[in-house]
Amino acid sequence: MKDIVMASATPLDRTGMAARLVRDIPEGWYVNLGVGMPTTVADHVPPGREVVFHSENGILGMGPAPSPDAVDPWLVNAGKKAVTLLPGAALFHHADSFAMIRGGHLDLCVLGAFEVAENGDIANWTTSSNDIVPAVGGAMDLAVGAKQLWVIMEHTTKEGRPRLVEHCSYPLTAPGSVNRVYTNLAVLEVTARGFELLDIVAGLTIEALQTMTAAKIHLPRTT
């Protein structure tokens, strides 16, 4: 069914998803990007727009990955990848770093997820089935601490199962925390009444999007 409804649509690739999300990050925000696809968001900030990236291992003002010959082995991000520091950067220890996170100082955290529920619940740390010992890292702190939590993920699993749901089936990372979801097909705000459609890719109807979503999609109220 997925193939049929998608016939005339142009889903975003990962680059397109990251670029779409970046459009909504204003200058001056302090932003933490989760490991994986969220990290690529940093590559799409237009030159001249100052956004300050935070890494939970103690960096504010993280810059792009260095060229291979300019790697400083003493500077890695939360995904353990080499990074650089921008002018204006600051370094600090883990308790101070999570004080920033837990204390509500980050404007935005972008995480990947397995599932997001219409009440804002997020499940992104374990599927239980395949994790002998799940690793939680900083996801739970980030999910409850940042002023805004945006999730970036494929709209469905590879098998076509919806990731936007009425209730998460996987163990929660945090209840009621997600503000917005960016998928390859749409942008949806989590509101008091559930998922509200903010944007949809060209060529896709709302009806078709609904068939790939396991929770009701609301249209924004016009005032």
């Binding site: 001249g48 100052e50 300050v52 935070h54 504010l60 204006g88 600051a90 999570f98 204390g103």
Partner: protein, 221 residues
Amino acid sequence: MMDKRVASIAEALSGVRDGAVVLVGGFGAVGQPNMLMDGLAEQGARELTIVANNAGWGRETGIPRLMGLGRVRKIVCSFPKGSVIFDELFRAGKLEVELVPQGTLAERIRAAGAGIPAFYTPTGVGTRMGEGKEVREFAGRSFLLEQALQADVALIEAWRADRWGNLTYRGSGRNFNPIMAMAARLTIVQAHDVVELGELDPEIVVTPGIFVDRVVRVARE
């Protein structure tokens, strides 16, 4: 361009509301945001709750000036001795005081900045400071429950700052300033020097700019 610098003390203090809880840095005469305090007196906000280690000394400036103008409803501090105006107002029943042990004051401020709503501390157990507070045992020892001290505004004195709000301090001027900078919705800094972005070594920044909203440069006194 992200730029937290403001041109004047008045601009730095715009929007401070009546009834605000205001954290004021400093210990003794060191690290006090005197220019911001004078600005707050000019700005006119009333019914303030002031959180600071001391209640100030001379009448002409700082917390005593604000108290003298009748702007302070309550003061939260560890050591109010030394301020004549404080004594006068308190004796006259015109000032509410919450006395907090210095380390508990520091930790309550830090907790507010760190998203910790409450914590247990051994300080004050079995004393007048513990009256009315929850006492709980951990590993056979008694502790008091203390709550985070949330604030609306923090007035901070720093040594150097940049336009992202990164700060360094000087000498014993750090004291309460770095933790107060973390704990308020609006953090306003007076700095002796404002330098170009990148001039502050990331290794020596004490307060990262994420905690700072406005920076105003003041002439050295």
